[in-house]
Amino acid sequence: MKLSIGAMAEPGSTRTNKTGSWRTFKPIINVEACIGCGTCSMFCPEGTICKVADKYAIDYDYCKGCGICAHECPVKAIEMVLEGE
């Protein structure tokens, strides 16, 4: 990327850095159990959990696998699974 004087950067350009590769455990949402409350989305440090229809989905390109979503889900609808299994 070309930078001007004063080192200006494109807004939101950290998106070029796909942090999904950091992940050891992968959160899997059980859509049957999900009540669509949005707690996971609110607490995600990456902002990678988005509302799709009335449920939630995770963008695995950026999810670092911290597990806050699974830990805080009030109905335990998110399971952390070892990556590659």
Partner: protein
């Protein structure tokens, strides 16, 4: 759905509390803001050269002068007749706010600039390697207040910056925690709607620095509030106007979950230190009427 104004791909640790704080602040403020960030973890993880996670105008200052830069931005908007176009918010860590930038912050509050200064409080210098700050709580082990044979870690109490800010007689001072996201969003909205200088301190647990699993960032934040060690309140013109009441838990529940307090449970004489920390929580409960 509201657009995400703090983009993913930033370099925050998995489970980063400061990143959650940044997201919640922007949810509260909306896009018509100019953000000033001093040096600190949030600045480092959100602006790795040549990228930026911010989707709003954002400027990095030095470690000590975010409040001065924010004051300048506010005055510039005023003199250009463009004050209606954006609110000015400074977001700094506890090191930049409570230690290094306190002079500039006091000046900003005293001169009456229309700026919201937000401190995300993770209670030490995290990105440089967990050195203690004046916001590090009593008894915490850091790399510059290490617990060992002759020390129980940090031997001074946490500096009470909300009280110092309130002593300036400013229109709004509040504390919040990322564990209560709707409260954070509400307080940011309220702060930017008030004319004049505002100070908001948001407790943001740090899994790397405090020593707990990244999945427990919110749980730890909640325990800090539930034990009375981080009281949540609002104050106007120096008077407390609202307090989050809790069914208080013993401080051990909060402390035992973190590596930085591990020595208190393992070293001889640790019990006395735990008692001192419980006394701090009890004093907070008494001062603010925290108990339900």
């Amino acid at each position: 759905m509201q657009e995400e104004l703090f983009a993913p791909g930033h370099r925050g640790c998995a489970g980063c509390g400061a990143a959650i704080a940044a997201r919640l602040i922007l949810k509260g403020s909306g896009k018509d803001v100019i953000i000033v960030s001093p040096t600190g973890c949030l600045e480092v993880v959100s602006s790795p050269y040549p990228e930026s996670a911010w989707k709003v105008p954002w400027i990095h200052s030095l470690f000590e002068n975010a409040a001065a830069v924010a004051s300048g931005v506010e005055v510039a908007l005023k003199s250009l007749g463009r004050k209606d176009e954006a609110k000015v918010i400074a977001i700094g860590g506890d090191g930049a706010t409570i230690d290094i930038g306190i002079g500039a912050l006091s000046g900003m509050l005293e001169r009456g600039h229309d700026v919201t200064y937000i401190c995300y409080d993770n209670e030490a210098y995290m990105n440089t390697g967990i050195q203690r700050s004046s916001s590090t709580p009593y008894g915490a082990s850091t790399t510059t207040s290490p617990a060992g044979k002759v020390s129980f870690g940090e031997n001074r109490p946490k500096k009470n910056l909300p009280a110092i800010a309130a002593a300036h007689g400013i229109p709004y001072v509040a504390t919040a925690s990322i564990a209560y996201p709707k409260d954070v969003i509400k307080k940011v909205k309220k702060a930017i709607s008030i004319e004049g200088p505002k100070y908001l301190q948001i407790h943001a647990p740090c899994c790397t620095g405090w020593g707990f699993d990244g999945s427990k960032t919110i749980e730890i934040g909640r325990l800090a509030v539930e034990t009375g060690l981080f009281p949540i309140y609002e104050s106007t013109e120096g008077k407390v106007t609202s307090v989050k009441k809790v069914k208080r838990k013993p401080v051990e529940e909060y402390l035992k979950a973190q590596r930085r307090f591990k020595h208190l449970f393992e070293s001889e004489g640790g019990e006395g230190e735990l008692k001192k920390i419980q006394d701090i929580a009890d004093a907070n409960a008494k001062q603010f009427g925290l108990d339900l």
